[in-house]
Amino acid sequence: MAGIRIEHVTKTYGSLSVLKDFSLDIADGEFVVFVGPSGCGKSTMLKILAGLEEASSGTVHIGGRDVTDMAPGDRDIAMVFQNYALYPHLTVRKNMGFGLKMRGTPADVIDQRVANAAKILGIDHLLDRRPKALSGGQRQRVALGRAIVREPQAFLMDEPLSNLDAKLRVHTRAEISALHHRLGVTTIYVTHDQIEAMTMADRIVIMKDGLIQQIADPDTMFRRPANLFVAGFIGSPGMNFLRSPVFDRAGVPTVRLFGREVALQASASLVGRDIVVGLRPEHIAAGAGPVTFEVQPRLVESLGSEKYVYLDVPEENRTQVARIENSDDEERPTDTIIARLINPDERAIGKHITLSFDPAHLHLFDAKTEIAIQ
């Protein structure tokens, strides 16, 4: 087990820069998740850590050793791939023991460690099968088993759950977390799914276009997103954005949202600037509250215990931010916001409904730089 230190790593392909100045310190035993939309550079960084790709510049240290230009096999790391990459011509037992065999471990030690790992993962009865004869979930476990048998200094996982169906994914997610608690091995986990990041990580590294956007623990990430991108990416459904200029009302900076004047709890220096106000869907409530407004919902989706209410944004509040909705890389139109109402009264579409929110829950971002205003 060991800490990992990544310093100023970049990666370019010709003129294409996929990773721009990536630096990160990972503590021994920490579970770090790299998350971001596809093409953000998270997998490239993982491959550089594994030694499968060469860094264009920068250094990588694992456990105090400079491994920047070291062969993958000499780094003492194990990796779990999205498609599992099990060796089709070898049995499960041989698959799991392959790395140890390559390192010249005596056969009886290999057998014992494979048996141990298989027991932990509940795959002892599959040891003599070939990968082809396994279900997706079983293959996933074998891939995990192949990693833990090695007892490496760090686990690298590249979207290990994305080939599983939804139910199994939730289950395995919990299992990987449990495994991490049990073994305490430093783990770097790459995913495009913010829910995986939120539920598993000690710390999240959120990336976009080869740049780190924010490094924080899940709670901080959720409560104090550093910029519009992070705010929109973390949380499901993502945060709503409303644009407004800030003006002065009796010495208090104020914005107009849904035709209501809303006093901000912020410094007076904001006056005169354009800002984007963020409001999480779950912070919009049914009925009257600190700021109340009436709207005609465009669409109501019922999920049983809760309802998603889609609202048209007034022209003056529309943002120009093209945003990537978490997980599915889908864009949400900027003229719609979502209210997430827990157990509301039955309401039909087309009627006016009363909604409210508390200004204390608002997130403020500079409209130009998209950076959070604290």
Binding site: K47, L52, G73, M79, N83, Y87, F98, G99
Partner: protein, 276 residues
């Protein structure tokens, strides 16, 4: 419902008719082989001989150096396939996995080399082999056949390696293999069916050649290949069609058997590289 079954009947009838028509020449070859020579001159021709001469194959092997010819063909095919596979497995893997400078132009050149006319290449090869004293030796056609086989096998193997996920060798490298070790220990075993199909395809190419054997081996009777041998039988003053047909069947048999095995891979082999 009635038109349905009528359609079926028409379909079956046409399939049978077409197959019969197209396969008939092969049937006729077989009938010719097992007919007594005097019956071949009978009019009207017999579509099944009165007394099939089943021992014709044993007889022809006894009377003609057919086994020698077949073993020469086999040796030439084995030699050229081994040489070709050795270089094209490595090259195909490199073209599939590495972005090597000039790799793309090399790939394009190899693709064009598939289209080279043998009648062009045979002239300089003749000159070259004469200078190094290879004319008449099996090595001449082994090398010449390699010029036919390498372009095919390289592209076929590249295509096959492309279907194998890169994560396999990445996993092997994380597990401690060198890049070359990952190829030898993981990728090649996984590719076994593709390697076998490719090698068989090369075998067929070599086995079917006539032009190079005719040019380099005509004066070296002990090194004649099967195809060359058959054409010399045809050239005799009075052609013994029964014997020629029997010999032809023995020569065609190996490739037909390979074809039966290879059918699934055929399209990949025929188009290898075309989709570049």
């Amino acid at each position: 419902m009635k038109t349905r079954s009528l359609n079926r009947i028409i379909l079956y009838a046409s399939v049978v008719a077409v197959c019969a028509f197209l396969v008939f020449p092969i049937y006729w070859l077989f009938i010719t082989a097992i007919s007594p020579p005097d019956q071949l001159r009978a009019l009207p021709p017999k579509f099944w001989p009165d007394v099939p001469r089943w021992d014709v194959f044993a007889a022809i092997i006894r009377e003609r150096p057919l086994l020698l010819w077949l073993s020469n063909s086999a040796l030439a095919a084995l030699g050229s396939v081994i040489i070709s596979m050795a270089v094209s497995v490595l090259a195909g893997y490199s073209l599939s996995r590495f972005r090597v400078r000039g790799g793309q132009s090399l790939g394009l050149f190899i693709l064009t080399a598939k289209m080279l006319p043998a009648t062009l290449l045979v002239i300089p090869l003749f000159g070259i082999f004469r200078s190094v004293d290879l004319i008449g030796s099996l090595w001449s056609i082994i090398l010449a056949h390699a010029t036919l086989i390498i372009p095919f096998t390289t592209w076929m193997l590249k295509g096959y390696f492309d279907t194998i996920p890169r994560e396999l060798e990445q996993a092997a490298m994380v597990d401690g293999c060198s890049p070359f070790g990952a190829m030898v220990r993981v990728i090649l075993p996984v590719s076994a069916p593709g390697l076998a199909a490719t090698a068989l395809y090369g075998f067929v190419l070599s086995w079917s050649d006539y032009a190079y054997a005719r040019t380099f081996l005509t004066n070296a009777q002990t090194n004649w290949t099967a195809n060359l041998g058959i054409t010399t039988m045809k050239g005799e003053y009075i052609s013994n069609w029964a014997d020629i047909s029997a010999a032809s069947i023995l020569v065609a048999l190996p490739v037909v058997v390979i074809y039966l095995f290879l059918e699934r891979y055929l399209v990949g082999g025929l188009t290898a590289g075309a989709e570049k």
